[in-house]
């Protein structure tokens, strides 16, 4: 029971902190936007296959966000496992 309470308190702390951070960030304008516009850097011109997913995108496109997270996590775990195995092979 005590452990559950501690876990609950930790979760509330983390969620409140995250909500506060997100609220603060969304209220503050981005001064770098003009620099990006000057350099004509657009997101769609990027080399990446997928566009970046941040908190609001995951919220609005939950399924797509979940898929991206799952693909990314499996991909990174798989690639790292493969590379580390290859590194160990000469031993």
């Amino acid at each position: 029971m005590k452990r559950l309470l501690k876990l609950l308190l930790a979760s509330i702390f983390i969620l409140t902190g995250s909500a506060f951070l997100y609220k603060y960030a969304s209220e503050n304008p981005d001064p770098i936007e003009s620099v990006l516009e000057q350099n004509e850097i657009q997101e769609k011109e990027s080399f990446a296959l997928f566009r970046g997913y941040d908190l609001p995108n995951i919220h609005s496109e939950f399924l797509a966000g979940t898929c991206v997270v799952l693909i990314g996590a499996s991909l990174s775990a798989g690639i790292i496992y493969f590379i580390l195995k290859k590194m160990m092979a000469p031993k």
Partner: protein, 208 residues
């Protein structure tokens, strides 16, 4: 933390690449000596967790974002050199496939997140021995949270210098903002890291 393309100057990009390449190469050689059949799946599992944790970004407002880095957690569990290597690979995947951080700005992100994050965590862990927190749980929490905040603040300092050298923004403008934000992110990261480390200690994870 992930800096996109088109913000920092070419000089800064080249300088960070010149720093990142030898350090990652050294980390590769050191990690090779530490590798074992037990540590590989654990590194891969932690990499997957860190990938997911880094996807949740909070835009800070100076062309960069705040998020959990996982550098302290990795350094604590698998050591600094393997951590640098794992974080570098995660950053490469994020940049090339998920557009999280610029491709040209990849060396900058490797220096800020992987190298500075892991080495500062390693120095902190060397200074404040693992034995300190064993007896008292509150001391252990304090040590982990402080370690996370310090690793993030070291990265903040380097990011501010990079912005300043690029002539984008004044050093103190960026540093003040990152200092405030990364302290909050550090508190959250520290709490999550403590919960994970407590769990890993219970299941007798390697290197603990």
């Amino acid at each position: 933390m992930h800096i996109p393309d088109g913000i920092l100057s070419n000089t800064v990009l080249i300088a960070t690449a010149a720093c990142a390449i030898p350090v990652v190469a050294y980390a590769y050689n050191q990690a090779k000596k530490e590798l074992s059949d037990r540590i590989i799946p654990r590194s891969a599992g932690l990499a997957a967790f860190i990938f997911v944790a880094q996807l949740i970004n909070f835009p800070i407002g100076v062309g960069t974002s705040g998020h959990l880095t996982g550098a302290f957690l990795l350094t604590y569990t698998i050591g600094p050199w393997l951590s640098i290597l794992v974080l570098t690979l995660v950053l490469i995947i994020q940049a090339f496939i998920f557009q999280d951080g610029g491709v040209l700005a990849l060396p900058v992100n490797i220096v800020n997140i992987a190298i500075i994050g892991c080495l500062s965590s390693y120095i902190f862990l060397t200074l404040f021995s693992r034995k300190i927190g064993r007896k008292y749980r509150s001391v252990q929490i304090l040590r982990i949270v402080t370690g996370c905040i310090i690793s993030l603040q070291c990265a903040s300092l380097i990011i501010s210098v990079e912005f300043w050298f690029s002539g984008v923004l004044d050093f103190f403008t960026v540093f003040k903002l990152l200092l405030f934000f990364n302290t909050l992110v550090g508190l959250i990261e520290g709490s999550i890291t403590f919960l994970i480390i407590s769990f890993l200690e219970k299941v007798k994870f390697a290197r603990l």
